[in-house]
C-alpha cells in the first residue's frame, strides 16, 4: 500500500462509520482511567437494553481524522460470565449482544504491576479472534517498583501488540490509538475458538500465563510494601473496625454539615421562586400547579443533589484509594449474618442520610440478588426525612421527662425508632436470603487492590457523572411522581363557599376517606388517612399535610400543630402513626429511584407492598397493645 493509499484508507473508513473499540480488563486495572484518558469529556452513560448494567461509551478523533467509538466494558476476570455485568462483557466481545455491533478492536487493559490475571484474560480474548491490543497500564508504578518487563518478547510470544500507558498522566495514549488503528487495518477475519473453559482448561491457561511471566517478567526489585503495612493497621481485627466507624462518622458529618446549608438554600430558593410566580399569577389551578406542583417538584429533586454529590465524592475516593474492598472485608461477617454481602454496608449506612443515594450506591455490589436485597431493605433505615415526622409526634405526645441524668424519654423513643429501622432492615434481609432466595449467596471472594493515590480528575468526573445520572433519570421519575401527588391533593378544587379544608374535596381526600375504614383498625382518623396521600411526596411533607387537614395556618408553626394533634389524637393513635412511619414506603422518590436502578416497576411494586404490609402490621400491634395498656 502506498503512502497515499494509507492516507486515503482511514478517511474512507471514517466516512462510513467510526472504528469500534472495546476496553476489557480485570477489575482495578485502571480501565476507567484509561477510558477517561482516551475520551475526555466526550462520554455517554446509559444502560444496556433491558438490563441495569451501565453502558459507558465515548468517542475520540485520531490524528488522521478517523473517529473511534470507545466502549468501556464491565471488568471481568474471565469471559466465563458469572454476573450480569460479566455476561455483557462476554457477549459484547463475542458480538452476541443485542443492539450492539461487535467491536473492531479489543483493547485488553492490564495493570503492569499485577500481570497474571490480565494475561490470562488476554489469552481468552485472543481466542475470540478479534484484533487485540494489550495496554500495559500503570507502567510508571511498575518501573518505580523495579519491575522488569520485556515488552517486545512478551508481545512476540503472546502474538499481540503491546503499548505501555500511564492513563492518569495521559502517557502512551497516542501510541495506543495508533496501535488500535494498525490492528484494525491489518485485521484478517478469524473465527472465534473461544468456548467456556472448564477448570482443567483454566489451569492450562494459567500454566501458559506462568510461562509467559517466567520468560519475560522479572519480579520487582522494590515491591510495594505500603499496601501490606497499611493493611496491618486498616485491617487489624479490632482497630480496623474502629477506623471504619470513625471514617463513616466523618463521612456522615460531612454529608450533614456540607449539605445542610446548601439544601436549605435550595429549598429557600425554590420557595422564593414559587412565591414570586404566585404573586404574578392569579389564584387558581394553574398557579397551584406551577407553584406547588412543578416548582416544588423540581425543588424536591434538586434538594437531594448536594447529599448525592458529597456522599458519592466519599464513596468514589474510598473506592479509588482501594479502601472499599477493605470495608467490605471488615463488615463481611456482620453483614453475612443477615445474609447480605460485605459490600452492602456502605449503601445501608448511606441510607441513614437518604435512601436515594444509598440505593444508587448499591452498584458496588456485583451479584444481582445481593444487590436487589440491599435495595429492598435500604428504605427501612431511618432516613433524615423521617426526623421531622418523628420530632412532631414525639414533641406532641411524649412528655419531656428525664429518665435519669441526661437521658430523656424523648431521646429514648428516638433511639428506639432508629434501632427499629436498622434491625428491621437486617431482619428483612435475613428473611429474603434465608427463605425466598435460599442458598443463592455469592461467595465472598474479592481482590484487595494495592492502595493508590486517587486521580483528582477521575474523581471529579465520576462525581459529576453520578449527579448527572441522578438528575436525568431519577430526576424525571421523581418529578413526575411529585406532579401526580400534587394533582391528587389539589384536584378537584373545593366548591365555592365550602368550609372544610380544600384537600377534603380532592382525590387525596376521597382516597383518604375511602381508606379510612381500612386504617381504622390501626387507630387512624380520617384526617390522618388523608394526610398520608400528599405525604407520599416525601415523608416530611406529612407534617405540612397534617397542618393542612387540621387547618393549622402558618407553615412553620409546628408547636401549634403539636398542640392540635395532642388534643385530637389518642396516645395509642400517635404511637401507631410513628410505627407506620418506621415502615411505610411514604416516599415517591425512593420508589422512583428503585424503578430507575432495577429498570422495572416490579421491584418498586414489591417494595411498596411489603413495606405497607409491615407498616400496617406494626401499627396494628402498636395500637392494640397501647389500647390494652390504657393509652386510648
Amino acid at each position: 500500500m502506498s503512502a497515499a493509499d494509507l492516507a486515503l484508507e482511514p478517511a474512507a473508513k471514517s466516512a462510513n462509520r467510526s472504528l469500534r473499540v472495546a476496553l476489557a480488563g480485570v477489575p482495578n486495572c485502571g480501565k476507567t482511567a484509561l477510558f477517561n484518558a482516551l475520551t475526555g469529556a466526550r462520554q455517554k452513560v446509559a444502560n444496556y437494553a433491558g438490563v441495569t448494567v451501565e453502558r459507558k461509551e465515548g468517542s475520540l478523533t485520531a490524528p488522521d481524522g478517523q473517529r473511534l467509538a470507545i466502549l468501556d466494558l464491565p471488568g471481568t476476570y474471565s469471559l466465563r460470565a458469572r454476573s450480569p455485568d460479566e455476561a455483557i462483557t462476554r457477549d459484547a466481545v463475542l458480538g452476541k449482544l443485542a443492539g450492539e455491533a461487535q467491536p473492531d478492536v479489543i483493547v485488553a487493559v492490564a495493570d503492569a504491576t499485577s500481570l497474571r490475571l490480565a494475561l490470562r484474560l488476554a489469552l481468552e480474548l485472543k481466542a475470540t479472534g478479534r484484533p487485540l491490543v494489550l495496554a500495559l497500564n500503570m507502567i510508571d508504578i511498575a518501573q518505580r517498583q523495579g519491575l522488569d518487563i520485556d515488552v517486545e518478547g512478551l508481545s512476540r510470544d503472546l502474538g499481540v501488540p503491546i503499548v505501555a500507558t500511564v492513563a492518569t498522566r495521559r502517557r502512551g495514549i497516542d501510541t495506543l490509538i495508533a496501535a488500535v488503528q494498525t490492528a484494525a487495518a491489518s485485521a484478517k477475519p478469524v473465527i472465534s475458538t473461544w468456548h467456556e473453559p472448564s477448570s482443567a482448561e483454566l489451569r492450562g491457561l494459567n500454566r501458559d500465563t506462568e510461562r509467559l511471566i517466567k520468560a519475560h517478567v522479572k519480579p520487582p526489585k522494590r515491591p510495594d510494601t505500603w499496601t501490606g503495612k497499611l493493611d496491618d493497621v486498616l485491617l487489624n481485627p479490632l482497630g480496623g473496625l474502629v477506623i471504619l466507624l470513625v471514617l463513616m462518622f466523618v463521612m456522615f458529618q460531612a454529608v450533614f454539615l456540607c449539605t445542610g446549608p446548601v439544601s436549605d438554600l435550595i429549598t429557600d430558593g425554590f420557595t422564593w421562586l414559587a412565591a414570586l410566580v404566585g404573586q404574578v399569577l392569579p389564584d387558581g389551578l394553574l398557579k397551584s400547579f406551577l407553584c406547588d406542583g412543578l416548582i416544588s417538584g423540581v425543588g424536591s429533586v434538586i434538594v437531594f443533589l448536594p447529599q448525592i454529590l458529597v456522599l458519592f465524592f466519599f464513596i468514589i475516593v474510598l473506592e479509588d484509594v482501594g479502601y472499599m474492598a477493605r470495608a467490605a472485608f471488615l463488615m463481611d461477617k456482620i453483614m453475612g449474618g443477615a445474609g447480605l454481602h460485605g459490600r452492602a454496608f456502605i449503601p445501608l449506612l448511606s441510607s441513614h442520610a437518604c435512601a436515594i443515594p444509598g440505593i444508587m450506591a448499591t452498584r458496588v455490589i456485583d451479584q444481582k440478588r445481593d444487590r436487589l436485597t440491599t435495595i429492598l431493605v435500604a428504605p427501612l433505615t431511618t432516613c433524615s426525612a423521617r426526623i421531622p415526622v418523628y420530632t412532631l409526634i414525639i414533641s406532641a405526645f411524649i412528655p419531656d421527662h428525664k429518665v435519669g441524668g441526661w437521658i430523656s424519654e424523648r431521646g429514648l423513643v428516638m433511639l428506639g425508632l432508629y434501632a427499629t429501622g436498622i434491625t428491621s432492615a437486617l431482619a428483612v434481609a435475613f428473611v429474603i436470603r434465608k427463605i425466598f432466595w435460599r442458598g443463592a449467596s455469592e461467595p465472598f471472594l474479592m481482590e484487595l487492590p494495592a492502595y493508590k493515590v486517587p486521580d483528582p480528575w477521575n474523581v471529579l468526573r465520576s462525581v459529576i457523572q453520578r449527579g448527572e445520572i441522578f438528575l436525568r433519570r431519577a430526576g424525571t421519575i421523581i418529578l413526575s411522581m411529585m406532579v401526580i401527588v400534587w394533582a391528587l391533593a389539589k384536584v378537584p378544587l373545593a366548591p365555592a363557599g365550602s368550609t372544610g379544608p380544600a384537600i377534603d374535596y380532592s382525590f387525596a381526600g376521597i382516597i383518604g376517606h375511602a381508606l379510612q375504614p381500612l386504617l381504622a383498625p390501626i387507630g387512624f382518623s380520617w384526617q390522618m388517612s388523608v394526610a398520608l396521600i400528599p405525604g407520599m411526596a416525601a415523608r416530611e411533607v406529612a407534617v405540612g399535610a397534617l397542618g393542612t387537614v387540621y387547618a393549622v395556618s402558618g407553615g412553620d408553626n409546628t408547636a401549634a400543630l403539636a398542640t392540635t394533634l395532642a388534643s385530637h389524637w389518642s396516645l395509642a393513635s400517635a404511637l401507631a402513626f410513628l410505627a407506620w412511619y418506621v415502615f411505610a414506603p411514604q416516599c415517591a422518590s425512593t420508589l422512583g429511584v428503585v424503578k430507575r436502578e432495577t429498570n422495572s416497576w416490579k421491584w418498586p411494586a414489591i417494595l411498596f407492598a411489603y413495606m405497607t404490609g409491615l407498616a400496617y402490621v406494626a401499627a396494628f400491634i402498636t395500637y392494640r397493645v397501647a389500647l390494652a395498656l390504657g393509652a386510648g
Binding site: 466465563r80 499485577s114 519480579p219 501490606g228 493493611d231 465472598f444 481482590e447
Partner: protein, 103 residues
C-alpha cells in the same frame, strides 16, 4: 472456632496433599498443592467454586500466605497470592490445599 476441617486427624490424603487453607492462622504460608472443592457451598456447585478460585489465582504451585484475619471467628481471611492480595471466607478456603513451608 473450629481449627481443623471435618476430620481432626489428618488422613493420609491430606498428609501428602497438604492442609486446607481454611485451617491456617495469620502467618500460615506455603504453596498450593491442590484446588478441589469437595462439596457445594452457598448454593454454588463444587465445580463452580473450584473455577472461581482458579480464576482468582488459586492455582497449583502458587505461593500463598494468610496476612489478615477478620474479628469474628477469624473470618474472612486475606491471603497474599503471588503478587496480589485476595480476601475470602474460610468456607471457600477449605477447597485450597496447601503444603506448609518450613519457616
Amino acid at each position: 472456632m473450629r481449627r481443623f476441617s471435618d476430620l481432626d486427624v489428618p488422613t493420609a490424603d491430606q498428609a501428602t496433599l497438604g492442609v486446607p487453607l481454611s485451617d491456617g492462622r495469620k502467618g500460615f504460608a506455603g504453596a498450593i498443592v491442590a484446588v478441589h472443592a469437595g462439596q457445594s457451598s452457598g448454593g454454588l456447585e463444587a465445580a463452580e467454586i473450584e473455577r472461581r478460585l482458579i480464576e482468582m489465582g488459586f492455582v497449583e504451585g502458587a505461593p500463598v500466605a494468610i496476612v489478615q484475619e477478620g474479628l469474628f471467628g477469624r473470618d474472612p481471611i486475606a491471603v497474599k497470592l503471588a503478587d496480589r492480595t485476595v480476601a475470602l471466607r474460610r468456607r471457600e478456603a477449605r477447597a485450597v490445599l496447601v503444603r506448609q513451608s518450613d519457616s
